[in-house]
């Protein structure tokens, strides 16, 4: 059986087109910062602003995103305590809406240190900082991949050195 389709550009273009607020987190964010891992999904921490969530809903509709548990997708009643992660499958691949990534206070906390990274094809999403990505991995309930965690710590170390040397 072939792997499901994953087109992060299509997802990011739709999200960008509606101008919804989000910070990219998880494996794809780590890859963008230099982690040599493989991921087949896009994780995002959304702004909980009502209008932004409405726009996110529009983008997810266009992507034909539906919840993997078969429940209807309702972005008007989100509660990080009740449901910290919403898993979706879309025509462009897996999307996870992570309301409050482990060890953080969600979008408002992450966006301060996030950077907009130019990825080509007209997309320039806000990507969580290496420090926040390390923090998320360290705060996970499950044991993170030690190789990925070590890699991200090293990326963080090199980034800090660059900042000091600038």
């Amino acid at each position: 059986m072939s792997d499901p389709r994953f087109d992060p550009y299509e997802i990011l273009q739709e999200l960008g087109a509606v101008k919804t607020g989000f910070v990219l987190v998880g494996g794809l964010a780590r890859v963008i910062h230099g982690s040599d891992e493989t991921t087949r999904g896009l994780d995002l921490a959304p702004s909980l602003n009502k209008e932004s969530l409405r726009r996110l809903g529009v983008a997810l509709d266009k992507l034909q995103a539906r919840r993997v548990d078969g429940q209807p997708l309702d972005l008007s009643d989100l509660d990080p305590q009740r449901e910290p992660v919403i898993e979706l499958q879309s025509d462009a691949g897996e999307i996870k809406i992570v309301l409050e990534p482990a060890g953080t206070r969600g979008y408002e906390d992450l966006r301060i240190r996030a950077n907009r990274e130019p990825l080509g094809q007209g997309v320039r999403p806000a990507v969580a900082s290496p420090g926040d990505l390390v923090r998320m991995m360290e705060a996970l309930d499950r044991q993170p991949d030690p190789l990925v965690l070590e890699t991200m710590r090293r990326v963080l170390e090199l980034d800090r050195r660059l900042t000091i040397e600038r």
Binding site: V31, D36, P118, G120, E150, L158, R160
Partner: protein
């Protein structure tokens, strides 16, 4: 664990607010906030002073740390790519059938 998390954890275990800890240290509470969010990293002596104000300390123990040259070379290789090139590399890898 990041330095910020260490400070936050020590402060919370001591039961201090950021303002209370700042008062004990004679500094602005914004400094505590910046450290805890890893926006600014304190020097080692400052870190010890902060932890000691919370009733903790870091034992000055040195443990052997071995670099992994292969991993460092891979990271270096990735760092020389732009974010766009890193994405392209990921997508190329996903297109290839698993070996």
């Amino acid at each position: 664990m990041t330095t910020g998390e260490l400070i936050r954890s020590a402060r919370l275990r001591a039961g201090y607010s950021q303002k209370e800890l700042a008062q004990r240290l004679g500094m602005a509470s914004s400094s505590i906030a910046r450290w805890e969010t890893d926006t600014v990293e304190p020097g080692f002596s400052t870190l010890r002073r902060v932890l000691q104000a919370c009733g903790f300390d870091i034992p000055p123990v040195l443990v052997a740390y071995e670099r992994d040259p292969e991993r460092d070379a891979r990271i270096q290789e990735m760092r020389e790519l732009t974010p766009q090139e890193r994405m392209t590399r990921l997508l190329d890898r996903l297109d290839k059938p698993a070996r």
